[in-house]
Symmetry: C2
Subunit: 220 residues, 2 copies
DNA sequence: CAGAACTTGCACAGTGGCGTGCAATTGCAC
DNA sequence: GTGCAATTGCACGCCACTGTGCAAGTTCTG
C-alpha cells in the first residue's frame, strides 16, 4: 500500500541514476547528510541505496568522479586549438562554468559546513562594509567590474581564502602573501595592475613605519 | 598517577586559553573534530573541556566571536580617515591579512570538509593545467600578477566558487554570471579590464553561434 | 598546613549513524 | 501466469560522540 508517493519508476538503472542526482544535491547542501536523508530525498528506502552502493564512501566517490570527469572534458574541448593564453583562459572558464552551473546550487553550498557557515554568517557585516566601499570605487571609476559590489565582496573574501591556502601549500612566501593578495584583490576589482602594485607598495610601506604603535591590544 | 604528560600548567585561565587556541586549530582542520580530539590536542581530558565550556556549540561560538571581533576591529582601524576607495580597500585587506594570518593554517583548511576535500583533490589535474596556462600568459606579458601561477590557479578556482555563491544568493543573474566570472578571472590575473571585457564578449559570442552542436553528450 | 579551585579517570545513559540479514512485497518480462 | 529482479520493512549489532555525575587526585592561594 501507499506506493503512490513518487510513483515506482523501478527498473534499477533509473533508480540508481535518481539516487545519484539527489545525493549530489543533498550532500552538497549538507556534506554530512545521512544515508537516510539521501534515500528519503530520492523517494527510496535507505536499504535500497545500499543495494546500489556498498557504502557511503562509494556513493560519494561515484559522484565526485562523474563531476570531475565532466569538468575535465569540457575544459579540454574548450581549449583545443587555442594558442593565446588569455583567450584560452576565457574559453576554459566559460566552458567550465556551463558544467559547474549544474552543480552551482550544490558546490557553492558545500562550503557551508556548520563551522564555516557560522563564520561567514558573522562576517556579513564586514562584507557589507566592503561592498559599500566597492560601490563607491565603481561609481568613481576607480574600479571596473561587471559584478555588482555585493558579488565582488564575495569574490574578495574567497580570494583571501585562496591565497591563504596557497601559502599553506607552500606555493607562496607568507611575508609576500599579504601584499600579493592585496594587489590581486585590487586587480580583480578592475584596477590596472601597475597602479595597484604601486598603491600597495606605498601603503604597505607606510604601515611598516608610522603604523607601529608596538602595543598589544588590551582586551582578552 | 601518570600526570606527567604535558605537565600541569593548571590555573584555569591558562588552560581555557589553550583549549580555545587548540580548538581553533583542530576544528578548522576538521570541522567535525570531536570534543575528545580537541581535548587531547590541548593536552587535557575531555571532561576538563566541559568544565570550561558547557557544550560543543558554546566552544565554537566563543571561538568564532573572538575571531570576527578581531577582524572587525582591524578593518575599522585600518580604514578610519581614508577617503580614497582604492587605498581604503588596500589598507583594509592588508590589515585583515595580518589578523587572518593567525588563522591561516586554520581558516584555509576549514574548506576541507571530507566532501570538498575529495573534490578539490581530484580537481588537481585541472588546476595544474590552468597553472601552466597562466605561466605562459605571465611570461608573454599578457598577464601581470605578483602571485606565482600555481597560486593564481587557486585564486581562480575559489573565485568561481565565490561567483557561484553570489548567484545562489541572488546577487547576480545566472545568465550574466558566466561572462562576469570570466572577466573577473582575467582581471584578477592582471589583464586590463577593457581588453578582458572585449575578449570575453568576442569569445562568448563565438561560442554562442558556431559552438552550438545542439546534441547532448552521448555518454552516461 | 588547610582549603579552594581545578583537573582527572571512570562510568553512565542517550542518540544517531552505519552496514547487514532476511522475509515479504511489488513490478517487469516472457 | 510464472519467474526474476528490484524494492521494501523490519530486525539486528556496532561504533562514535555528547553531556553528566562523582570520587579521587593535583596544584595553587592564603
Amino acid at each position: 500500500m501507499g506506493a503512490m508517493t513518487t510513483g515506482n519508476i523501478s527498473r534499477a538503472g533509473t533508480n540508481r541514476r535518481r539516487i545519484l542526482d539527489v545525493a549530489l544535491a543533498e550532500l552538497l547542501r549538507d556534506p554530512d547528510a545521512s544515508m537516510d536523508q539521501i534515500a528519503r530525498a530520492a523517494g527510496v528506502v535507505r536499504r535500497t541505496v545500499y543495494g546500489h552502493f556498498p557504502s557511503r564512501e562509494a556513493l560519494i566517490s561515484t559522484l565526485v568522479d562523474g563531476a570531475v570527469e565532466a569538468l575535465a572534458d569540457a575544459d579540454a574541448r574548450a581549449r583545443e586549438g587555442v594558442t593565446d593564453p588569455a583567450e584560452s583562459v576565457a574559453r576554459s572558464v566559460l566552458a567550465l562554468w556551463e558544467i559547474a552551473d549544474r552543480y552551482r546550487l550544490l558546490v557553492a553550498l558545500a562550503q557551508r559546513t556548520v563551522t564555516v557557515q557560522g563564520i561567514r554568517e558573522r562576517l556579513a557585516p564586514l562584507r557589507a562594509n566592503k561592498a559599500e566601499l566597492l560601490r563607491q570605487g565603481l561609481t568613481q571609476g576607480v574600479f571596473h567590474s561587471p559584478l555588482p559590489p555585493a558579488a565582488l565582496a564575495y569574490v574578495h573574501e574567497q580570494l583571501l581564502f585562496a591565497v591563504m591556502e596557497a601559502v599553506n601549500d607552500g606555493l607562496l612566501a607568507a611575508e609576500e602573501a599579504g601584499r600579493s593578495a592585496t594587489v590581486t584583490v585590487l586587480t580583480a576589482a578592475g584596477m590596472p595592475a601597475g597602479p595597484a602594485t604601486a598603491l600597495v607598495a606605498r601603503v604597505s610601506e607606510e604601515r611598516g613605519t608610522e603604523g607601529r604603535t608596538e602595543g598589544r591590544v588590551e582586551g582578552a
